[in-house]
């Protein structure tokens, strides 16, 4: 049911997702635009670039791939994708973070169709994804793949490396971790707050197959994610170099936009910038 990869279509969808993120966070009056915008092209490629096997009309489809947003504060990017895919009506986006909404401040699997597991406390997603990958691998030709998106700051959580050990030890080749390497965390540059060092090297040292890619080049993302999926014998990690706040000039590379909603004026300015398709169409 998944069509082939179409770069223009993915880029077009990504612009729409960025607009949704700005609009929903502005409407909510709080939230995390920076790390949502940095992950848009990754998530768009997964959901709309023929990478993730899923069926919005049947969120519980047993043969689907699984996506876990370990960096749960980037919930808006996930909600934008799920709404666009049709897991729920777009009218819900305006209810983000409101009392009674199906769209909680951080992903809640009990409330939101398409959310596989609740996240928000950082550093846990890769463990859950590992357990899920182990649980899904019922036969050698079972190719259901688990994708787990983490932030680069999140890698400071020690549990990530417990999971890295586990996944490699068990040869979880149906697990693909993706690092949204935007270089910033709440308190500033990751390298200044707490430098993790070379991310790919660290995963390689744990026994993972590693890939590095421009996290805003959807064609490269498609090729890399596909290669990571096809890789056999070990789990794979895709370190995607990204720009925090990507697509909105005044938010780009600015840690202050990690967890702050745009004002009405800023919202308009952001949407004006997001009216053209990046790279042309």
């Amino acid at each position: 049911m998944t069509p082939g990869f179409d770069a223009v279509q993915v880029r077009t969808t990504a612009v729409g997702m960025r607009r949704d993120i700005i609009e929903m966070v502005a409407a909510a009056g709080s939230g995390h635009p920076g790390g949502s915008l940095s992950a848009v092209d990754i998530v768009a490629t997964l959901y709309f670039g023929a990478v993730l096997r899923h069926d919005p009309t049947d969120p519980g489809w047993v043969d689907r791939d699984r996506f876990i947003l370990s960096k749960g504060h980037a919930a808006p990017v996930l909600y934008a994708a799920l709404a666009e895919a049709g897991y729920f009506g777009r009218d819900h986006l305006a209810t983000l973070r409101r009392l009674g909404s199906i769209l909680q401040g951080h992903p809640d699997s009990k409330k939101t169709p398409g959310v596989e597991v609740s996240t928000g406390s950082l550093g846990q997603g890769l463990s859950v994804a590992s357990g899920l990958a182990a649980g899904l691998r019922t036969s050698p030709d079972d190719d259901r793949t688990v994708y787990c998106l983490m932030g680069d700051g999140e890698l400071q959580e020690g549990q990530v490396w417990e999971a890295a050990m586990f996944a490699a030890h068990h040869g979880l080749e149906n697990l693909v971790a993706i690092v949204d390497d935007n270089g910033l965390q709440i308190d500033g540059a990751c390298t200044e707050v707490m430098c993790v060092g070379n991310i790919a090297s660290k995963f390689a040292a744990f026994g993972w197959k590693t890939f590095e890619v421009d996290g805003h080049d959807v064609s490269a993302l498609y090729a890399t994610l596909s290669a990571a999926r096809e890789h056999a014998g070990s789990p794979a990690v895709v370190v995607a170099k990204t720009v925090k706040g990507k697509g909105v000039s005044f938010m780009e590379n600015n840690a202050n936009w990690h967890g702050k909603a745009p004002s009405a004026e800023e919202r308009e300015a952001a949407l004006a910038e997001l009216s053209v398709i990046e790279g042309g169409a």
């Binding site: 809640d108 597991v117 609740s118 846990q124 463990s127 859950v128 357990g131 899920l132 417990e162 050990m165």
Partner: protein, 308 residues
């Protein structure tokens, strides 16, 4: 003398697997101590040792549960609940997953390993999380039943298991119902509500009280959450006095849970037996039970205070 409650863990998982329940076990390098090794020997493909990494243990179990498994976790109570609290709260319970914590070595009867390894706050930590159910089996039979109940009831469970042999208080084939307490001995003058190894101590205290002409009702509060309010209210309505007995801190444990509801539903003079807001210490289990005032004579003395 009966067997340790932990001995029921791995063996019951084997039984459940044989019966067709899709149980898996995730362990953190303590499979011989917790007895999950028994399960691993029979079902190696269903056993995952994460090494010394308890946070990962809980979340790997969460992932297995998302994949449709009934996922049990091992390790010791102090690590499974303390070190991995956020994982239990934010991933297992917040998502409402089929993860069943059944750590062993709870309470002071861990013995010589000392206070660092004697978990006396686990009931407190687990029972305050929305959606978590808390079972404290008193003996081997109850432990088998608790593991079985946890495996066959959807959602998160905490089953508190112990290291040392626990005297039998329940018959072979005992079945545990969710939200039910068990009146093991009927009485009219004072209610002794206990859990875990304290159930046997309470039964012995009831004998001591009988020698004084006092009729004690002994209740095994095997299920601390949800609590069997009806049975407890019915009992204290009759006796008018309550002693709670637990191998756990008196803060926020079973005695607190009971007091919370009875203070609204049927307040009666109460004494709480347990660890008095202190850490444990090294020593033999029996010595420690005496040292910290958890044995039958202490329960007897606390009950007698209610008749002054």
């Amino acid at each position: 003398m009966g067997r340790a409650t932990r001995e029921a863990f791995g063996a019951t998982l084997v039984e459940l697997a044989r019966e067709g329940i899709d149980v898996v076990a995730v362990e953190a390098d303590l499979s011989k101590s917790t007895t999950t090794a028994t399960f691993a020997d029979v079902y190696p493909e269903r056993f995952f040792n994460v090494g010394i990494a308890e946070q990962n243990m809980i979340d790997v179990a969460a992932g297995l549960a998302v994949a449709g498994k009934v996922a049990f976790t091992g390790s010791f109570a102090v690590f499974a609940t303390g070190r991995a609290y956020d994982q239990v709260r934010n991933t297992v319970c917040y998502s409402g997953l089929d993860v069943k914590l059944a750590p062993t070595h709870s309470g002071i009867t861990v013995g010589p390993d000392g206070g660092s390894h004697q978990m006396i706050e686990d009931i407190a930590l687990m029972r305050v999380i929305p959606g978590m159910r808390v079972l404290v089996p008193a003996d081997f039979q109850a432990a088998q039943a608790a593991i079985r109940l946890a495996a066959t009831t959807p959602g998160p469970f905490y089953v508190r298991l112990g290291r040392v042999a626990a005297p039998d208080v329940h018959p072979e084939g005992f079945e545990l119902e969710l939200g039910r307490a068990y009146v093991l001995r009927e009485g009219s003058d004072v209610t002794l509500a206990a859990c875990g190894v304290e159930v046997h101590e309470a039964l012995m205290a009831a004998d001591l009280l009988a020698e004084k002409g006092i009729s004690a009702e002994v209740i095994d509060v095997a299920c601390i959450k949800p609590l069997d309010v009806d049975t407890l209210v019915a009992s204290v309505s009759k006796t008018g006095r309550l002693v709670t007995c637990e191998e756990h801190s008196v803060l926020a444990g079973m005695g607190s849970a009971i007091s919370e509801v009875l203070s609204e539903a049927c307040p009666v003079p109460t004494r709480r037996i347990g660890m008095a807001d202190v850490f444990g210490t090294s020593g033999e289990p029996a010595e420690l039970m005496e040292h910290f005032g958890l044995t039958a004579p202490h329960i007897f003395a606390a009950a007698m205070e209610l008749f002054d």
